[in-house]
Symmetry: D2
Subunit: 286 residues, 4 copies
């Protein structure tokens, strides 16, 4: 496979029709979206698909950019899918990966700016303002290695040791193979993430293995690699000038696409963590 | 020609080797850049190249992103080339076209934020702060039709009638055919501009014909149209899905590329208009 | 009166109790806000209050920052009050005054970024997307003199001549005398505006006299002048160091206050101009 | 003392002339700035001045806003003063405290965006690009409790445990008593910081005691508390309405003041950590 994608669904599509051993796929409709669950159940499946054993859920939402972050159908769907992957109780630390100054990479930090932090709100205070039963939520965007000098994985590990969450959610922008998936697909998995793997700057792994707690990843594809597009069209032997290696393909209105996707992902996390608080209340509290 | 480019030099490259009647081309090195001057001298040339009669100057700067806005060699080169196209005296109105909220389209407004406005500074005041001999400069970024409901051409025409400049400079992001030109090529011309022509949202023309004063355009290519790239590789008959029509190709670090290009273009305009004020002084005055 | 305020209501409060000739005041509750209408009906009233003949409406909203831009009660109130001042038909040009880079001065440009421009949408197109009966709306933020070299009044006059609106709305940040009014008071008037008059950088007047069409102003106080506060407390004879002349008093969370106020003002303009389009639809269209 | 200030120099000024036991003060001129060093040498001094034992250095720069971040005299002065407080070797973690979305509180995060992170650059790589002898530098802006749900002190402690720096620098916006000090005073100390102490939202201490490594703080006053100003003028018994408790006084152009101060502080840290790299080179590398 000489193309770059972070989407399990796209790797699955590129495999022969007959389901390989160790890979199970289920597809269904939910609240207007097409949901595909791929379960990698053994080492053979992991090798065939090139990703760790675990569950990969993809929701394809026709024209995500049309949905505002208050669209209840879509938020309910995403919130429920995410809840299935999360432990029922305990503090959740949500981490926004990526560089907020590089538009197609800003999904993580932007999503996090929409997520309600509640870990510091005592039960008494919450009760007094009518916010009973808040789940403790912590939120952090650690920046990127070039700006901080510290691997995101190290920063998160340090925070995890301080606050002992029951799970970590990591949000990151993804690379897709097909242009048609940009900005309208949400992938969740319970296998953690290797940040930047899709965009070619592979960083230290963030997973249960490295952090000691479950790591749920959420992402939306925002770019197609130029190399992937050209090789996909021309064949893998097509030579590519070095100057073109760093090119990406995005929708023209990438800023808008990222903004909408970040609102949706952020609000979906809120829905999963604080199912009793309405989107409107959360918008007032941010 | 089934590809989209705003660069006269790329249209010229696509023509047969033998110079058509009505097109003159000269190429030379200047302060480390390769400069190409294309003069379209008659209607035949204009038809062949698909652009109005006039002068098109292209400066190709190896790795523009490496140059800061204080690089004196590059600023001198651009300032001098621009000065050749401008009238020697009188107020100059510089206009930043494009949408500052859409990164690859933000070159115009961002450049304008680096340009010193002086029209309101009286001679007395300028003298008292040691800024003798300022050329009157006005600066405006009118926004885009979808946000203002008014064509940029109409807004500029209204302002021109109020302040009677001797020339208008319009700055806009351009589309190129070759990825290698993104962010490292500056095109200037004395023929005005049809905003958005390269990116496919053609707007009302901004030119001497419509405004009554000379209109000098400056632009830097920031995107390649996905259609142009794919047709360039595959041939013009390749069918393209509608969803892909709106895709663009940019460098991964498009935000950085735009930021650097805008500083350079803005400072080049300052150099041309206020040759006696150093870049450092201008940075302090902005 | 040695204090700076842009609010007619505060000047009225500072006058002797007995109503002077030429000033009529009415106060009532509307949708949870306290509304005060001050009519200046003759030259004596204008001189006493230091503002032109016309109507000044002030809505005091307890804790504006608690209201989101989708609070229907508040938007209906503001939209109706504004509608009373506007002509029933024709294009409306809304202008955002002030410097979007200086937080307490950014109300105008930020509000404008929330206002739907429709002048360019043809009746056919509007009908096809279910947006019948749109009132033509144009929107522009001309920037400030120091950045453009052109008075806002000149720019607006130029645009007015091009597009012939039936009225102009100008939005600007105001100065108040009382800290308690910051961010929770909206003033509207039909007398136009002298931009920066409250903040001490008086600019060219924008009014029916200078533009030839009715000019409705909307503003929210965002600062109290330090001099005004100190003189109010200490008496007018208190000497003030020059370095303190340029100081202002704002709420600590001024960025948040401006953001909320801008959303509210912008949406109130939408409500007045497009009463048949819901706030949610407008948010999707922006 | 019923006024809020983070500046040791202002507390010292409010004390009786005769130097109390345990406080030593020295004042000198350095590169155009007035520098005051206050050493608190014993517990009596600490109690009198209300701050921990240690060194507090204040540089008063006439009109800081006039200096660009490339002013070499000022940077050298600040860099040298800071170097005196830092250990000679080892990784330094610089932390930007405060909320980047609230202008007067954004000094820390903005300064950090100007600081070169080098900890991830191997000696080999540095040598190959001509950057020998870089001191390892890590940079992090942890956000504020309301947005993250985690105390900044906890986040920093977690990172410190992961990367074992030889010292931590914390940058934060300060409150002053005198308006004349806003934006033109830099305070450094070797006693760490209680974030938000000056602005009234006291957080967990960040110091050698809590982190186990030396903590150097740097700050610039950006606000005067309205209560402090009014009580300073009127006497401490003046009653203050609750609504006014949250008001602050800032220069009108607070955004500009913060921007310039952040560039200066950030570049001063670079100067102290990477004395062999010029400001221009650093600007290119950021």
């Amino acid at each position: 496979m000489d193309f770059r994608t972070d989407l399990a669904i796209e790797i699955r599509e590129s495999l022969p029709q007959k389901t390989p051993d160790g890979i199970k796929t289920a597809t269904f409709q939910k609240n207007g979206a097409k949901v595909t669950k791929i379960k990698i159940t053994n080492q053979n499946g992991a090798e065939v698909i090139g990703k760790p054993i675990g569950t990969y859920i993809t929701a394809e939402i026709p024209n995500l950019t049309k949905y505002s972050c208050t669209d209840d159908e879509i938020l309910s769907m995403l919130g429920e899918l995410l809840s299935e992957l999360l432990p029922k109780d305990g503090t959740v630390l949500t981490v926004g990966l990526g560089n907020e100054n590089i538009t197609p990479d800003a999904l993580g930090p932007l999503s996090c700016s929409m997520i309600l932090a509640t870990r510091h709100i005592s039960g008494e205070l919450a009760k007094s303002v009518g916010l009973d039963g808040l789940r403790p939520s912590a939120v952090q965007s650690p920046g990127v290695l070039g700006q901080t000098g510290v691997e995101s994985a190290e920063i998160i590990k340090g925070i995890v040791k301080q606050i002992n969450p029951s799970a970590v959610i990591v949000i990151d922008a993804l690379a897709a193979r097909k242009l048609s998936r940009l900005g309208c697909t949400v992938q969740m998995s319970d296998t953690g993430i290797i940040p930047g793997s899709g965009v070619g700057n592979s960083r230290a792994e963030i997973s249960k293995k490295t952090l000691g707690v479950p790591v749920i990843s959420i992402g939306v594809p925002t770019v197609v690699d130029a190399k992937t597009l050209i090789h996909g069209i021309m064949g893998e032997d097509t030579p590519l000038k070095e100057e073109n290696q760093n090119m990406i393909i995005t929708p023209r209105e990438i800023d808008l696409v990222i903004d909408r996707a970040a609102r949706l992902v952020g609000m979906a996390v809120n829905r999963a963590l604080q199912p009793h608080i309405s989107t409107e209340e959360i918008l007032m509290l941010l």
